[in-house]
Amino acid sequence: MSNSHDRRLDIAVLYPDLLNLYGDRGNARAMERRCAARGIDTTVTGVDIGDDWSPEQSDLVLIGGGQDREQRRVHADLQGRSAEIRDYVTDDGVVLAVCAGFQLFGHRYRGWDGEIMEGIGVFDAVATHPGPQIRRCVGNVVALWEGETIVGFENHGGRTYLNNGQQALADVVSGFGNNGGDGLEGARVKNAFGTYLHGAVLPKNPHLADRLISLALERRYGLEAGELEPLDDGAALRAHAEALHAALSASESPLGRRFA
């Protein structure tokens, strides 16, 4: 087996200054930290509008949440990268797209004022905001992912609907999920994960974080490279349990507000 210090992962964070709502930058921290604990070097590169970047330079692509106006601002730039990102996903590239990022990785997002923002079609899904008079989906979420719970906080006006054949990421136990209707949360295509969960989601869902790391290592270094030694996750699992409790003790947020 090769020396673990030979391994490294290059992480790209798309539009870190624009899509950074609700602590999503904790996701990159979780990747760095969990890799470092295993002697895996990481680089984290922020990709801004107009930056010269190709997804093939990266092992893991993160994109976070933002308000409608930030989505409007990044979506043209993201369009320019659409084919490259889809090729990267086809080639087993690893992605975590949260909230606004998740919506823009679908086919399109119709904002609260009716404006259509074309997505890049990684996920076979469409998102639509029913308008400023309709309640936002706000609150703690518990979902079942491969038989285990994942937890986080959702806050989105947009509702995402998966087309036939598009796999969801998880099943909602408590919370709204993609649209508050079909019980589905997020989407998955190959190694691309889409979700509405903030929190940040990765620090308190270490099993999900490790899956992303494993998939990225396998893609870069081969199948056996994806084996990860376990870490002491006491603090993460306590936070996970606490979030479970917070979600299940109030099954719906009393705070749905009519803001765009």
């Binding site: 200054d17 624009l18 950074n20 709502l21 609700y22 602590g23 999503d24 930058r25 904790g26 921290r29 979780a30 930290r33 308000q67 106006r69 601002r73 706000v138 609150g139 703690n140 906080f153 806050n155 903030h198 929190g199 940040a200 620090p203 308190k204 603090a235 993460a236 306590r238 936070a239 349990a241 606490e242 979030a243 917070a246 947020s253 009393p254 705070l255 507000r257 803001f259 765009a260």
Partner: protein, 441 residues
């Protein structure tokens, strides 16, 4: 010395509103002057500073107390101040905190002589929505203000400064003019990064914290030159000194409060006082006699141990609280309390947007508590803090006892709570017989 009571003051207002919905308007119309204070951070402290300045000027002041800055709290304050016959003392000045969302309603009920806009930060998006939508509603609310109102704007906050475009009446601006104020750390999250009207990015020759600083845009908008400013800012252990420049003269201020955000609060209060005709020397006296508002930079003694409480209810507020603690060589015993009540915002994700990393080396010991203590502990572990002493306690009382138990004499305990955790811990400290150190009156 003031009693350490609970913070809830909104009930009488609720009762009166039910019995007599026009009560606020009727009582409001009898005031001789009204100052409204709105914005995300600093309302309570600014209001306390302004009330003190006005009292130093010999005025009778009605003031809604902390935590009751919704419409109901305003009504309650006016009712409390009214005589049994329901008529307010003539010549009375009201200092009213107005919740961001409640400003239009409060301004209708109590037409302002002056209104201070402190800043607009990301705070509880689950409650208030996006900050631009608040700016938009404020702009609309200004249409209904009496044209005699003087608005007081923070020149250093571009979202606030641009409210001037909605206002034809008199306007005073305040800001920091000291070229030696240290810039914000580069990793800090900024909530407002471009002009909502033009989509132009805000650029800075110097940024102090959040979006506050010397800003301009490519389209030619720029920070207005403030009529009221602070220069030569000097921080000591217990006070902040600065030179306050007013249109009516300059005075040196010795403010018993810490941090740049306290300077902004003092500027906001001084600006409103100037709009109300208070002379510089009285402003100087009032600010010098400032007492920490409830739960904000309060220092007290309990069982012979010094305890200070620094409220941090959103990323920029907590970043500022942390920055007041960061002095070379100083290390602190911390009790960090994270609640997710409705008044805190049920979303605790914001703790990932706080620059705890810069505080890690200043932490001598750590106890965490509150409804979301485990979330907080995880965040602080990521930031490189020492492991928390004892178990993670969801119960605020147990966390407080744990923190006092591990506190080495004679060092102070620093408590960093969210809003409802502040109310909780402060009530417990009161029951333990805490006495405030900074009480003056």
């Amino acid at each position: 010395m003031r009693a350490l009571g609970s913070g809830g003051t909104a009930l009488p207002g609720l009762v009166v509103e039910r019995l007599h919905p026009q009560a606020t308007e009727q009582l409001g119309s009898r005031l001789s002057a009204t100052a409204l204070i709105t914005g995300t951070n600093g309302k309570t402290t600014t209001a306390a500073m302004l009330a003190r300045i006005l009292r130093a000027d010999g005025r009778t002041v009605v003031h809604n107390r902390s935590g009751s800055n919704l419409m109901r709290g305003v009504t309650a304050s006016l009712v409390e101040a009214a005589s049994p016959l329901g008529s307010l003392v003539h010549g009375c000045t009201a200092v009213l905190e107005a919740d961001e969302a409640a400003l239009p309603a409060i301004a209708r009920a109590a037409p302002p002589t002056t209104t201070v806009f402190t800043n607009l930060m990301r705070d509880q998006l689950d409650r208030y929505g996006e900050i631009e939508s608040i700016a938009l509603r404020w702009g609309e609310a200004l249409d209904d203000f009496p044209s005699s109102t003087t608005i007081a704007l923070n020149a250093d906050d571009p979202l606030i400064a641009s409210l001037a475009t909605h206002w034809d009446g008199s306007c005073l601006r305040f800001g920091i003019e000291d070229p030696d104020v240290p810039p914000a750390p580069s990793g800090e999250i900024v909530d407002a990064i471009w002009d909502p009207a033009t989509q132009d990015d805000y650029r800075y020759s110097r940024r102090y914290f959040a979006q506050l600083g010397r800003w301009h845009t490519a389209a030619g908008a720029e920070r207005p030159s403030p009529e009221i400013s602070a220069d030569e800012i000097l921080q000591t252990d217990e006070a902040t000194r600065f030179l306050l420049r007013l249109p009516t003269g300059s005075v040196s201020i010795e403010l018993p409060a810490l941090g740049l955000y306290s300077v902004y609060n003092a500027l906001a209060a001084a600006t409103a006082a100037t709009a109300l005709g208070v002379p510089p020397e009285t402003i100087q006296r009032g600010l010098g006699a400032h007492e920490a508002a409830f739960g904000r930079q309060e220092e007290m003694v309990v069982d012979g141990r010094r305890v200070r409480v620094l409220l941090g209810k959103n990323p920029s507020g907590m970043n500022q609280a942390l920055r007041t603690l960061q002095r070379p060589g100083e290390r602190h015993h911390l009790l960090v309390l994270l609640n997710d009540g409705i008044a805190d915002g049920t979303d605790v994700s914001w703790i990932w947007d706080v620059d705890w990393e810069s505080q890690a080396e200043h932490c001598a010991s750590l106890v965490v508590g509150g409804h979301r203590a485990a979330d907080m502990a995880l965040r602080l572990e990521y930031a490189g803090f020492p492991p928390p002493c004892g178990p993670v306690e969801n119960d605020v009382g147990r966390a407080l006892r744990a923190a006092l138990d591990v506190l080495p004499q004679p060092e102070p305990l620093t408590i960093l709570p969210t809003y409802t955790a502040m109310l909780d811990v402060r009530q417990r400290l009161g029951r333990m017989g805490a006495a405030r150190l900074w009480d003056v009156a």
